[in-house]
């Protein structure tokens, strides 16, 4: 016999009440935990995906769209920018690194990105199979892509025009898989990387193709483009989608965006600023859900309080008899507190398990969740705070009934029969 058996027996003797209280609290905790896990992971993904990118330069349009498209690869491009103009920007002394991106094709909704090695290095990409792309029409796949499409080195595929499934297929030019990256837990996992020329190549009218690489480089007057070294500089007929920029000095943050937005036909958007804006927009929805969860938790707390308060009325004799058997006031006080906090602890544990379960199922069923890299088997320190908070909530709910138990006048109760 101990306090655990005693408390458990009391909870078991009113199964419906106990289950109701646990379910109410668990639902509230589930909503809070799902939001916590989702928000935290999203925030982490966003910061890690935008790491090393201070500015995105692209065609004029929505700055948020520019960021969503070129960093997270979820929205559509705002348009294209001229390679010559992009080169001018890239030459700026305030810029340490400028990485070109050329979008436009996809395979099975996985985007094919024309870029250079520096882009993959932003995410510390490492190869798990094969090699980096080197020639035109060679690609290296992100881990998720290879996994989902069951591709291995040497496989060939035709891309489709556009960034969604069902576009017009580029039938004549086949991409060949040269290598596969290890999972980097970033947006890279969902991308197919190649060089910029390959993207140009599949979009060229047949027969009008440029001379092959070998001829280009033999040209004696060849000045390589800063962005695409195999291509001559100053070509105003070629276009890319955007430029990812890493600043050389903090001064650039003040001068560059103003310069680009004011003096060129392009726009510059800061990932940090735009993601903060995105979060403040999302925040409204999150806050509504959060308030709903707090209402649920408040109702469950009230329900636990009422249940304890009522059951203590029925248990007046139990309490008095326990005192007659030698229980001290404080023992009864602690027993009632333990009953309340056991309820809330079970409730919040059930809630936490449920929340992780929901995310595990979501990650398994909904592709977008998996693509965003949201996982259910990740634990945060905040969950301990939720547990501790519910323990405190239980004590709070049980406090008044416990004081009542503490004050029971045994002689009066026992003589009252």
């Amino acid at each position: 016999m101990n306090i655990v058996i005693l408390v458990w027996s009391y909870l078991k003797s009113k199964p419906l009440n106990t289950v109701l209280n646990i379910v109410l609290l668990a639902l509230g905790i589930t909503v809070i935990t799902v939001l916590l896990l989702f928000n935290k992971q999203l925030e982490e993904k966003i910061t890690s995906n935008a790491k090393g990118i201070d500015l995105v330069v692209g065609a004029k349009g929505s700055p948020l769209q520019l960021i969503l498209c070129n960093i997270f690869h979820i929205d559509f491009p705002t348009g294209n920018i001229n390679l010559k103009e992009a080169e001018l920007i890239a030459k700026n002394r305030l810029i340490k690194k400028a990485i070109p991106l050329a979008l436009g094709d996809s395979y099975q909704a996985y985007r094919i990105i024309g870029t250079n090695k520096e882009y993959a290095e932003l995410y510390q990409a490492e190869l798990s199979q094969g090699d980096w792309w080197s020639k035109d029409m060679e690609v290296t796949l992100g881990a998720n892509v290879a996994d989902a499409l069951k591709f291995s080195v040497g496989d060939k595929f035709e891309s489709t025009h556009g960034l969604t499934q069902g576009g017009h297929a580029h039938e004549d030019q086949k991409f060949i898989v040269k290598g596969i990256f290890k999972s980097s837990n970033s947006v890279l996992d969902n991308l197919i990387l190649t060089n910029v020329e390959s993207i140009w190549h599949v979009h060229e009218e047949h027969g009008e193709g440029e001379a092959p690489d070998s001829i280009r480089q033999q040209d004696t007057t060849f000045i390589p483009s800063k962005l695409i070294p195999t291509h001559p500089a100053g070509d105003s007929t070629k276009e890319i989608t955007s430029l990812l920029i890493h600043y050389r000095s903090p001064m650039a943050a003040i001068q560059l965006p103003r310069f680009i937005n004011g003096k060129s036909s392009m726009q510059a958007a800061s990932p940090a600023f735009e993601t903060a804006r995105l979060f403040s927009i999302l925040g409204v929805g999150v806050n509504i859900l959060m308030s709903f969860a707090y209402v649920l938790i408040f109702i469950s707390a009230l329900s636990i309080f009422i249940a304890l308060y009522n059951s203590l009325k029925e248990r007046r004799y139990d309490l008095a008899v326990m005192r007659s058997m030698g229980a001290s006031r404080s023992k009864l006080f602690i027993t009632v507190l333990a009953e309340g906090s056991t309820l809330t602890c079970i409730g919040s544990l059930v809630g936490l398990v449920l929340a992780h379960g929901i995310l595990i199922v979501l990650a398994g069923v909904v592709e977008e969740t998996r693509k965003a890299g949201i996982s259910g088997v990740i634990f945060y320190r905040e969950e301990w705070i939720i547990l501790a908070g519910s323990l405190f909530l239980g004590i709070l709910c049980a406090l008044l009934p416990a004081i009542q138990a503490y004050r029971t006048d045994i002689s009066k109760v026992l003589a009252g029969n």
């Binding site: 016999m1 008899v321 326990m322 005192r323 058997m325 030698g326 006031r329 029969n417």
Partner: protein
């Protein structure tokens, strides 16, 4: 074992109950007789340390109860006194066995499963060990209450109207059981009652 002299108690300043002197040896039994409102229950609660703030002398097991603090009194009560009430007041959330275990648990005595089993055997409750107390008969419930009162081998067993609601046959059975158990555990049995049927069972009577 029990020593009372000049004992009085006041619920309100105007209303004072005085009690006759009483002295009981270990194992000696006694009836507290009187009509309703005569103070039987009050005296019983004073003896059991459920009521404090008396004047006069009240010693149990050579301890003046007034000298104990509230928590010391709780402990003293758990170890030295067993209560039996008119209603059984078993804890309905617990099984028969756990109801009995409550006595040593609450008194802070380690639970001796052998001696608990022994007591249950004496009272013919072994088959009902794991039954819920809501499932057993009234007679069995009363035996569980008695088992709970004696399982800690108390020096004194205090019973408040244990037989008043029973018919003659059951009254006879319960009083015999109580006397039997008290004698076996060498406990002093004090019964507060207005039940005249008990008069010839116990020699020592105190009338209030």
């Amino acid at each position: 074992m029990v020593n009372i002299s000049n004992l009085s108690f006041s619920y309100t300043p105007l209303q004072t109950l005085s009690f006759p002197s009483l002295s009981l040896r270990k194992g000696e039994h006694c009836l507290l007789l009187g009509e309703s409102g005569s103070g039987k229950t009050t005296l019983l609660h004073l003896l059991g340390g459920l009521l404090r703030g008396y004047s006069g002398n009240l010693q149990l097991n050579n301890t003046e109860l007034r000298s104990l603090s509230e928590s010391e009194l709780d402990k003293f009560r758990g170890r030295n006194i067993g209560f039996i009430f008119q209603k059984n007041h078993l804890i309905s959330a617990l099984s028969v066995e756990k109801n009995i275990w409550m006595a040593p648990y609450l008194a802070g005595i380690p639970i001796d499963h052998n001696s608990t089993h022994e007591v249950l055997k004496e009272l013919g409750l072994v088959e009902k060990l794991s039954s819920e107390v809501t499932e057993i008969s009234q007679g069995q419930a009363q035996r569980v209450a008695i088992a709970r009162a004696v399982v800690n081998h108390p020096a004194v067993i205090l019973a408040d109207e244990p037989t008043s609601a029973l018919d003659d046959k059951n009254c006879e059975r319960v009083i015999n059981l109580l006397l039997d158990v008290a004698t076996r555990h060498n406990s002093t049995l004090v019964i507060a009652t207005h039940d005249q049927r008990l008069k010839n069972k116990i020699d020592k009577h105190i009338s209030l």
